[in-house]
Amino acid sequence: MVPEAEFRSYYGQPVIKAPVWHVPHMPLYLYLGGLSGGASLMSAAARLAGHDRLGLTARVTAAAGATLGAGFLVAELGRPERFLNMLRIFKPTSPMSVGSWILAAHSGLSALATASAVMSAAPASAVAARLPRRVAAALPAAGDAAAVATALTGPLMATYTAVLVADTAVPAWHEAHRELPFLFAGSALASAGAMGMLATPRAQAGPARVAAAAGAAVELAAGAVIERRLGLVGEPYREGRSGRLMRAARALTAGGGLLATVAGRSRALTALSGLALTAGALCTRFGVLEAGRASAADPKYTVVPQRQRLESGDRASTAAPARSWP
C-alpha cells in the first residue's frame, strides 16, 4: 500500500481547478464517441469481409453514436450557440481542436455510410424514390467508401478523448496518459461489439462477439495497469465514489466479456452480455471523470509528487518545449 502522504497546503484547498465538465454530458460523450468509433471500424471490416447484416448494424450504430455524442458535446459548452468556433482554427496543441475535426470528419463519413446502407436495405422507401437518379446510383459506392474511410477516423475517435483528458494538470489523468488510450480503445471495442450482438441476428454476429470479448480483455488489462503503476496518484481509481464506479466497471466488463464468448448459444446470454458490457463501458467513463474530479479536489495528489520531484533533484523542465502555441 501507499504510505499516508505528508504534505503542506493552504488550508487543504485544492491547488488546481477540477474539470468543470458536467455529468452526464461529458462521460456520455466519451462513451458514445467510443461506441461510434468502434462501430465504424466494425462497419469497415464488415464491408471488406462481406458481413452485410452486421455491417448495417455497425453503420447505424456509428452514425447514431457520433450524432448523439456531438449533441451532448454541444450541450456541454458554456455557450452552445458558439459551437462552430471549434472549427474556426486547426490547432495541433489542443486535443479538443484536433478532436473537433476528427468528430466532424467522422460523423460526416458515418452518416453517409449509414444513409447508403439504409437506402439499399429499403430501396422502395419514399425517400429513396425521391432521390435524383444520379445520387441514387452513386450512393452505394460512396457509402462503402465512407464506411471504409471510417476505419481511419473511428479508432482516432475512440482514442483522442484519452489524450483530451490526459492533456490537463489533473494528476490522475495526466499520469495515466499511457494507459487511458488503451482503456478507451478496449472499452470502445467492447461497446461496439455489445451493440453489434444486441442488434444483429446471432448467426451473423460472430465477429461482434469476438470484438466484444477482446475489447473487454484490453479494457480490463489497461485498468489493472493504471491501478498498479500510478501509486498515490492512482488512488482515486481505487477509492471513494470513483473507485466504486471503476470496480463496478471491472465486474460488468469481465462478466460481459466472459459471457460474450458463449453468447452465440442463446438470446438470453446475448442480451445479458451486451447489456453488461454497455453498462461496464458507461461505468468506466463516469469513473474516469469522477477520478479526475477527486484527483483535482485533494491537494495531496498535486503537491506530493511535485515535492518528491524537487527533493530527488528531478525538477521539471521545459527547456526544449515539445509543443507550444503559437
Binding site: E6, R8, S9, Y10, Y11, V15, I16, K17, P19, V20, G37, G38, L41, M42, A46, A49, L77, G78, R79, F83, N85, R88, I89, K91, T93, S94, P95, M96, S100, P155, A158, T159, A162, V163, A166, D167, T168, A169, H177, R178, P181, F182, F184, A185, G193, G206, P207, A208, V210, A211, V218, P299, T302, Q306, R307, A316, S317, T318, A322, R323
Partner: protein, 293 residues
C-alpha cells in the same frame, strides 16, 4: 511585439490590505464571486477563479524563535505548527524581534497576493480549441470574450488553478494583466493600487534583476527562507510572467511546488493513442478473420 512585461509580487512586504483585489474588481468590472465565510483566516476570497483575478492569502504560523530550530516538517497551514519552517528561520541579523525569547515559539503572519502567472508556456493557451486565448504583444495571455465558447478545457489544464468558467455566463475568465491599461501606457490596476509596492509591474528582465537583489538583501538580513518562485526560465512552464518572492514553501500559499505545462508531454500522449488506435484496428481485423476461417 513590445517588451515582455510582468509582475513581481514581493510577499515579504505585503500587508494584506486587499487593495489589489478591490482595484482589480473595479477596473475590470469583475462580478462578485460569492460571499463565503470560510472560517480559516482573514481570507474569505478563497482562491483565484473566473471572478477573482487577484487573491490575497493569509497564513498565520508559529515558528521557532532563534536558537530553537527544529527540523522543518510537513503540516497544514493555519494549524500554528511549531515546526512548520526549518531551523534558523526567525534568526534576524541583529536578533531584533520584539518580545521574542530564545527558545520560545514566535508568531509570524504571511500574506501574499496571487495572480495569473502569464506562463511562458501556457497550458490554457495551448489547449484552447477556438483560439479565444491568445498571447498579446506584451507576451501576456488573454481570453477574447467574444470568441470563447465555454468549452472549459483551459480550466483543468492550468497547473496553477487560475482560470475558471463563470457558470451563469458560460465563458472562461482570468487576469488580463489589464490589457486595456497596458495598451494605454498605464500599469495594471493592482500594481497601481498596491500601497507598499509589494506588487511591482515593469519589463520582466528589470523585475527579475530587482528580485534577485531583494533576495540577496533578505538573505543578508538573515531571512534565509526568502526565495523566488516562477522566476526560473528553465522550470516546467518556461518561467512565469508574474513571479513571486515567497517566505515559505509554495504549497503553503496554495501554489504548486513544481508545476509543469501539460502539453510538454503531448507528443508522447499522441504516441500512446496511436498505439491504442492501431491495436484497436488489429483486434477488429482479427475478429473478422477468425470468422472467415
Amino acid at each position: 511585439m513590445a517588451e515582455r512585461v510582468g509582475f513581481f509580487t514581493d510577499t515579504s512586504i505585503c500587508i494584506g490590505c486587499k487593495a489589489c483585489e478591490v482595484a482589480c474588481k473595479e477596473w475590470n468590472d469583475v462580478p462578485d464571486d460569492g460571499f463565503v465565510f470560510r472560517a480559516t483566516s482573514y481570507d474569505n476570497t478563497g482562491g483565484l477563479g473566473a471572478s477573482t483575478w487577484r487573491h490575497v492569502a493569509f497564513i498565520e504560523q508559529r515558528v521557532p524563535a532563534p536558537g530553537n530550530g527544529g527540523p522543518g516538517g510537513p503540516s497544514g497551514a493555519g494549524e500554528l505548527p511549531a515546526d512548520s519552517v526549518g531551523p534558523g528561520v526567525e534568526t534576524g541579523a541583529d536578533g531584533e524581534r520584539p518580545g521574542a525569547v530564545v527558545g520560545e515559539p514566535v508568531d509570524r503572519w504571511l500574506m501574499a497576493s496571487d495572480v495569473c502567472k502569464h506562463c511562458t508556456h501556457a497550458a490554457c493557451l495551448d489547449v484552447c480549441p477556438t483560439g479565444a486565448l491568445f498571447r498579446t504583444e506584451f507576451h501576456t495571455v488573454v481570453v477574447q470574450a467574444d470568441v470563447c465558447n465555454g468549452c472549459g478545457y483551459c480550466v483543468p489544464a492550468c497547473p496553477y488553478g487560475v482560470i475558471g468558467r463563470r457558470e451563469d455566463d458560460g465563458r472562461a475568465f482570468k487576469c488580463t494583466m489589464c490589457y486595456d491599461r497596458l495598451r494605454g501606457g498605464l500599469e495594471p490596476a493592482c500594481a497601481k493600487a498596491c500601497p507598499t509596492d509589494s506588487i511591482q509591474f515593469g519589463p520582466l528582465d528589470e523585475l527579475l534583476e530587482r528580485a534577485e537583489r531583494r533576495v540577496t538583501d533578505l538573505h543578508g538580513q538573515g531571512r534565509t527562507e526568502a526565495r523566488l518562485y516562477g522566476a526560473d526560465p528553465n522550470d516546467g512552464v518556461g518561467g512565469d510572467g508574474a513571479f513571486f518572492l515567497l517566505m515559505d514553501d509554495p504549497e503553503v500559499y496554495g501554489l504548486p511546488p513544481d508545476p509543469v505545462v501539460t502539453t510538454r508531454d503531448l507528443p508522447a500522449m499522441w504516441g500512446w493513442a496511436a498505439g491504442a488506435a492501431l491495436s484497436m484496428a488489429g483486434v477488429m481485423a482479427a475478429a473478422f478473420l477468425r470468422r472467415r476461417r
